[in-house]
Point group: C2
Chain length 325, copies 2
Amino acid sequence: MARVTSADVARESGVSRTTVSYVLNDTAGVTISADTRQRVRDAADRLGYSPSAAARALRSGRSDLVLCVLPNWPVGPVLDTVLDELTRELAERQLSVLVHHGRGARPLAELWRAVTPRAVVGFTEFGAQDADAMRRAGIPVLSTSLDDDPRAVFAVPQTRVGQLQAEHLADAGHVRLGWAGPAEPRLADFAERRLAGVRAECAWRGMAPPVVQEVDLDVRSATDAVRTWHTAGVTAVAAYNDEVALAVLAGARARGLAVPDDLAVIGVDDVHAGRLSDPPLTTVAQDARVQARSIATAVVAALDDLPRPDPEPGDVLRVVVRRST
Amino acid sequence: MARVTSADVARESGVSRTTVSYVLNDTAGVTISADTRQRVRDAADRLGYSPSAAARALRSGRSDLVLCVLPNWPVGPVLDTVLDELTRELAERQLSVLVHHGRGARPLAELWRAVTPRAVVGFTEFGAQDADAMRRAGIPVLSTSLDDDPRAVFAVPQTRVGQLQAEHLADAGHVRLGWAGPAEPRLADFAERRLAGVRAECAWRGMAPPVVQEVDLDVRSATDAVRTWHTAGVTAVAAYNDEVALAVLAGARARGLAVPDDLAVIGVDDVHAGRLSDPPLTTVAQDARVQARSIATAVVAALDDLPRPDPEPGDVLRVVVRRST
DNA sequence: CTGAAAGCGCTTACAG
DNA sequence: CTGAAAGCGCTTACAG
């Protein structure tokens, strides 16, 4: 079963490959009779012709693909939504988004060379070597970052997340805070920054630094942490995310502590389970749509060679107050 | 900034492009002096050469990419893990996995033609037209399905999920069951099948059919549903998944019903939040690793033109008993 | 042991 | 208005 090529269409419709190409690509600046156009179109349809992207890519040196490289951390609901939206936004520009779960399984270089993408979006920092190589190949490289970074097209300021948590708790009158970190080592980069935000806010308000505890996603680990906090006089805990916060809730329950009276808890992400817990979880919500739109805009700007739009992290984050604080 | 080609490497190392290709691809059946090999390798390194995948694809008609097409439903933790594992497994075969969040944004045909993948894995059913076109192009098409389907390489039997739930509840002595369906319309295909499983098990045991309620992921909706069930004499609820089950838990709490004494609840997925809820959630867990391995095996078999291995859905599912039942 | 040449399928100056 | 030809970068029979 040989592949149908433009030569086949040309033969079938009695014109040259040039004409086929002109007609099928609606090339500007050529005039071709409506009759010929129709013949070519019909032939293409009849034969089920569709151009070889490999040949096109070779010829033009570019494709219509945008490669998204995911980092080595678990994909949560926020990133999932971002990818969704990004796919939709870029589709309007005839671009297809391809996601690589880049758990470092294969060298990144082989991947992007194999794909010949129009642009690469990294939800993680690329090695300088990879980034340089891609830029040399003329591929715009866009990366998001965990905090403000002048090279990033978009940054969710992770320190700001922690800061918002601490601010919310301090405003409610708590003076001794705890921090519940994730056990998952792949989240360390995020965790450090969020914790730094909590620390900074505490320092700024003249409060003692937060009492840090690592909390596994099980009741026993959380119970131990809660005991430590209670002993240390902690009255409110900022958790790495909602899952960890739910563990803290479970730990408090196991210790017979009332939330928020004995211990207040705030998470991050606004997951569904946090709305349904007892008590419902106060949390820092991230607006995935705003993030996706920012990234999409940056990609499009890079392709059009426009100046990079300003990242607008401003209203991505907001505190959703529920009954756990 | 021109691209470095094999011609550059040839010039730099004083040999022909043929020799460059032989050396760099370790082509079998040619003998090239160790000295020459070394010169070529050095030159390639020095120049930062890496072959154009587009040219290779054009030449050979194939790439090293496996395209995974995701369906139009939200990606949960199970699918995320499956993709992770699949990426890892296929990396061992020098294949890169590319995931498309195929929310139908662009026609599938454009995508696979642009990628020229070695194989396509669909976590959803393809249209017959697309599937045929890919097969005609010599691309193995593997699809998973929601239930047993002879054409699928892998099926998580969704009816079996519901059946396991009902079985567990009936074994515990419940005779009047409720079913909590998801409000998210994109999950309808799954929901129908799981519900069918519950229905079948009830019928088989001579029990009344389950009382069906749609439950939003908020307390109000769940409370309404719980009232209805209570009125109908329902003592146990099988929920579409753990999130819905957590909503039912919240609804029972709001109505002052004790779980499991007044109302037992079982979910699906074994998410973290279900281990941390009050009470912890009994659930049907799916083994993502087994799923991923099955799919990977099927992909590899298809590429090697081996007969398709038997799907082995047997031990993918298991009931994890916690205190909500 | 190594090189000149063809060809994968496309697009686009260039020439009629 | 349409066609012959070059060339994108690679691999691989084929010829030395």
